[in-house]
């Protein structure tokens, strides 16, 4: 094996779209394909192309609850895209390559644990499915996910919000100015995992300079401190200055040098909708950087259109870095305080909006903060929307290292809810035994 070999799972899903004129449509990776093929990247000895696998429902249900079930909510394309991420993971874990990039669609980082439909173009969370696969098949424990999409990775955050073994770092355009409107600094994880979610909302107009400020002074030191077994990059590309859905000013060089510094073991494509001006160059840049090849010549033909960063943005980012550095240094203390305050259970009630179908979901999450183990989680969900009707479910998640008592209590909770009959569907996701049950 060469010292720098990249596994590339390229799956443009040329026959799949959410709808004919939707940004997630057949054409999205066409120009990227043209650029990759024309460059001759697939013929480079340091790049090996892999075919995606087809993810199984077991892979998906290690992460998600589909209401009433996953299979009625997704298409074959989702199985292939999640399978693409899994193939990328296998290539690295079998040491056939040093790192890998799943350049696949449809994307996944807005898909949360409970799935009623599609949000932010995502139905199932392909990174999260890959992470749980890595844990199950290869025994990986500590995972760091760095989400570099312009939109807050709210789905990934949701799925790992109670997991201290998963460090989730997302930088994104400030939620006050962009979908999904979350990802603020105070979203830090539930008490047991406090501090393992780090949100870095950046102001519109942030350039390569601002991005690398954050990377060099916060993300890289935090990663070094966390010492993950594996680093995953949710490699959205819509921070690009030409993206039609956002207002940032990152270039292909900015993204490529990010990939070079981050040295993610596995990168997975997320968003990016400047399909002609950005994606061909950003993807070539990332591929070259991950393969250890020279990316210095990957420059957009219209680079003169990229604005420069204002001094107020630079100051804002400096402040943000300082503040989050402080939080990271104090996280153990904050965690102990939060646990003491919460007592036996931590609870939150939320509404979640599915923009694709106009569904409103109300969720009650209850986390058992067990002093002996990693506890369990129960979720009650009710969703309704025009043309969607009403769907509800109650579920329990038994964590990988739950103690016998927590395991039993979690199952009892679902049986009890079923007896009361307030919900339509009842599930147990037992990560301890790797079983998914519908009761």
């Amino acid at each position: 094996m060469s010292s720098n070999k990249l596994g590339l799972v390229f799956f443009p899903a040329f026959d799949w779209a959410i709808s004919p004129t939707h940004p997630e449509r057949e054409e999205r990776l066409l120009y990227t394909r043209d650029q990759i093929v024309e460059e001759g990247l697939l013929d480079m000895p340091s790049i090996r192309e892999y075919k995606p696998k087809i993810a199984t429902y077991q892979d998906i249900e290690r992460v998600h609850f589909g209401v009433p079930d996953i299979s009625s909510l997704i298409t074959d394309a989702h199985l292939v895209s999640a399978g693409g991420a899994i193939a990328a993971a296998d290539a690295v874990m079998r040491r056939e390559v040093n790192r890998s990039f799943a350049l696949v669609r449809p994307p996944g980082h807005h898909a949360m644990r409970v799935v009623h439909g599609t949000r932010g173009f995502c139905t199932i969370n392909i990174e999260a499915i890959m992470v749980e696969y890595l844990r199950k098949v290869y025994g990986i424990r500590k995972v760091a996910i760095v989400d570099t999409d312009v939109h807050h990775g709210d789905g990934t955050q949701d799925i790992f919000y109670h997991d201290p073994d998963t460090l989730f770092i997302s930088f994104h355009q400030d939620g006050r100015t962009l979908y999904p409107g979350t990802g603020f600094t105070d979203e830090m994880g539930s008490p047991m995992a406090l501090g393992s979610t780090i949100n870095l909302p950046l102001p519109p107009g942030t350039t390569d300079e601002g991005l690398h400020q954050v990377l060099d002074h916060l993300i890289m030191p935090v990663l070094a401190d966390f010492q993950p077994d594996i680093i995953i990059n949710s490699a959205g590309q819509d921070n690009h200055y030409s993206d039609p859905l956002a207002n940032m000013a990152i270039t292909a060089q900015g993204y490529a040098s990010l990939a070079d510094k981050l040295k993610a073991d596995i990168a997975v494509l997320e968003g990016g909708y400047s399909i002609e001006e950005a994606l061909p160059y950003v993807n070539v840049g990332i591929i070259l950087a991950m393969a250890g090849l020279d990316y210095s010549k990957v420059i957009e033909p219209d680079i003169h259109k990229c604005p420069s960063q204002s001094s107020s943005v630079t100051r804002y980012i400096d402040e943000l870095i300082k503040e989050r550095q402080g939080m990271w240094a104090m996280k153990e203390k904050l965690r102990q305080e939060a646990l003491a305050k919460a007592g036996d259970f931590w609870q939150r009630t939320r509404t979640i909006y599915y923009d694709e179908q106009g569904i409103d979901e109300r969720q009650i999450e209850m986390v058992r903060l067990c002093p002996k183990c990693s506890g369990y989680l129960t979720i009650g969900t009710e969703a309704q929307g025009p043309g969607f009707g009403f769907k509800s479910a109650f579920a329990a998640v038994i964590s990988r290292e739950a103690c016998p008592h927590c395991r039993q209590t979690a199952v009892d909770a679902v049986h009890k809810a079923k007896k009361q009959g307030k919900y339509q569907h009842y599930f147990v996701q037992n990560k301890y035994e790797d079983i998914f049950e519908k009761l």
């Binding site: 390229f10 093929v37 024309e38 460059e39 033909p301």
Partner: protein
């Protein structure tokens, strides 16, 4: 009356076909110093045998280009590239290129023009070179810059030959096109010298038949056209034998063919009656090119493969140390094992028995050793076929439907040609649980293949209705789209017309046309469809001019 000639590493083979029958064959040693000598000997032999020089066509498969590569007898090429932004490909090219500025983007837009002063500087650097190659990124989307630079070079130094990338291949892959253009220019002079002498000697013998050259994709080119595209004449030996199989044993079921020679075995997979093509193109001298060729898997295994024991374990090949002991060789070979096992009758049986005794362990009879050798041969072959099938099944595809339905081939039949096929193929087929065929003229399948190979050519038409034009790189054209609501069917018709045009320029008869690739994408900006990008790649179907009957 068709004459086919195949110059191989060991033998120069010839075959004459008339009305679907082989009426003459010849096998004569290849004359390595001067290939033409052996070619002439073969021609003289068949002319004498059939009593006529009146060939409808002479098709030649030679090692002239391959030898130029192997012997490093290539010309220095003034390679000028227009890479624009992207990967630095310099390290992936066989020589250091001169890098010109200028850029065509993925839609074919002219983003930045090349600079004449840079071209002049390149010409000064390459002042002593006779041949040039010019290749630009996305030149297949818009050949303008490549052609302009070629014109400037011509005006500046007027070299003997200039190859442009978009003329060698119309498909995407700047790296492969650049390598193709480089090798084409590098072998141009040597091939043309060979072509000159072929024409001279045929004239001297008063043979006035048109001469064609076989290509790696099993098609043929008129010699006059091959002079401009000499690199196409590389790797034609295996292609010739594949064509021979097509002529002798047309097969429509998924098939694996094995051409077992003295030193190597070439494996090909067949679907719908034709062999699969190499993805992207052939690899030349370790460099990826855009040359269309059959996808062949070569194994170092043949009748002359060396048989020995290493640490007590029986080993076969990949090296050859000489002929079989049965015909006077010094070391045991696969052929000796076949003789001892009684599946062929060849040379001196006692010498073959001696060969098997040399590798027998205590208590083993020569027959037992022979059986073990053949088992090992079958194992190597099965493994090679398995690798090829796995490669096919794991080949990346880009549509959901192709993943869900898979691209696996379930092979049903084995076809064997080449010197050692008769003995080995029945055992291989039995091992794989498949049926088999061994064409009777399998020993000269290559020459028969050359004789009957059809002429082929392919073009890629790409239309961008938003931009309002289409390109056909192989013809160097960029034209306005002739009508509104232009769809794939229109693109097909237009491509057909241009394919006919290109066929005429190349002196090729327009045979059956097939679409080898098509794509149609809506271009959407904002939330409305503003046009289509259509790609349509057509070829004159490779194949054989006439079938061939076994009786003769």
């Amino acid at each position: 009356m068709l004459l086919g000639l195949d110059v191989g590493g060991t033998f120069t083979d010839g075959a004459v076909l008339q009305s679907g029958k082989v009426i003459s064959v010849v096998k004569t040693p290849t004359t390595h110093g001067n290939l033409l000598e052996g070619i002439l000997r073969a021609i003289d032999h068949v002319v004498a045998e059939v009593g006529s020089k009146d060939f409808t066509r002479i098709a030649l498969s030679t090692t002239i280009v391959t030898n130029a590569l192997v012997e490093k007898k290539m010309d220095a090429v003034g390679l000028c590239i227009i890479p624009g932004p992207g990967m630095n490909i310099t390290s992936a090219l066989p020589v250091e290129p001169y890098i010109l500025s200028g850029y065509i983007d993925h839609r074919g837009h002219e983003v930045a023009a090349p600079k004449p002063e840079e071209v002049i500087a390149a010409c000064q650097q390459f002042a002593r070179y006779d041949v040039f190659a010019i290749s630009g990124k996305f030149s297949v989307r818009n050949p303008h810059y490549e052609r302009q630079v070629a014109q400037w070079v011509k005006r500046q130094v007027n070299p003997k030959h200039i190859t442009v990338g978009s003329a060698v291949a119309g498909t995407l892959n700047f790296l492969r096109r650049t390598n193709s253009a480089y090798y084409n220019a590098a072998v141009w002079r040597r091939f043309n010298e060979f072509a000159n002498s072929v024409e001279l000697v045929l004239q001297a013998r008063e043979i006035f038949s048109p001469v064609y050259v076989l290509k790696a994709d099993g098609g043929t080119l008129p010699l006059s056209v091959a002079r401009e595209y000499p690199v196409e004449a590389i790797f034609t030996g295996p292609a010739a034998s594949v064509l021979g199989i097509m002529a002798m044993n047309p097969t429509s079921v998924p098939t694996v063919s094995v051409d077992i020679g003295g030193t190597t075995t070439d494996i090909a997979l067949w679907q719908n009656g034709i062999p699969l093509f190499a993805e992207g193109g052939a690899s030349v001298d370790g460099f990826a090119t855009a040359l269309r060729s059959f996808r062949l898997h070569s194994l170092g295994l043949g009748g002359d493969s060396f048989v020995r024991r290493e640490d007590g374990i029986l080993k076969v090949g990949p090296m050859r140390l000489g002929p079989a002991m049965a015909v006077g060789g010094t070391q045991p070979t696969v052929t000796d094992a076949m003789v001892v096992a009684g599946i062929i009758d060849f040379g001196n049986r006692q010498l073959a028995v001696d060969a098997m005794e040399k590798v027998a362990i205590a208590g083993q009879t020569p027959a037992e050793v022979a059986t073990n050798v053949l088992k090992e041969v079958i194992a190597i072959l099965s493994h090679g076929i398995g690798d090829m099938l796995t490669e096919q099944a794991t080949r990346p595809v880009y549509r959901v439907e192709d993943i869900v339905h898979g691209t696996k081939i379930s092979v049903q039949k084995v076809i064997g040609v080449g010197g050692a096929a008769t003995g080995i193929v029945p055992m291989l087929a039995k091992h794989l649980g498949l049926s088999y065929e061994i064409p009777r003229q399998g020993m000269v399948a290559n020459a028969i293949g050359a004789a009957v190979a059809r002429s082929t050519v392919d073009i890629t038409l790409r239309a961008d209705t938003t931009e309002g034009y289409y390109t056909v790189a192989e013809l160097g054209i960029k034209n306005k789209i002739p009508r509104h609501n232009f769809v794939l069917a229109d693109a097909y018709q237009l491509a057909e017309k241009h394919l006919a045009e290109l066929a005429m320029i190349r002196g090729i008869e327009l045979g059956e046309i097939e679409m080898i690739h098509s794509e149609e994408f809506n271009i959407i900006r904002g939330f409305s469809t503003i046009g289509k990008i259509i790609t349509c790649r057509l070829q004159i179907k490779p194949g054989v001019l006439m079938g061939f009957k076994e009786e003769m």
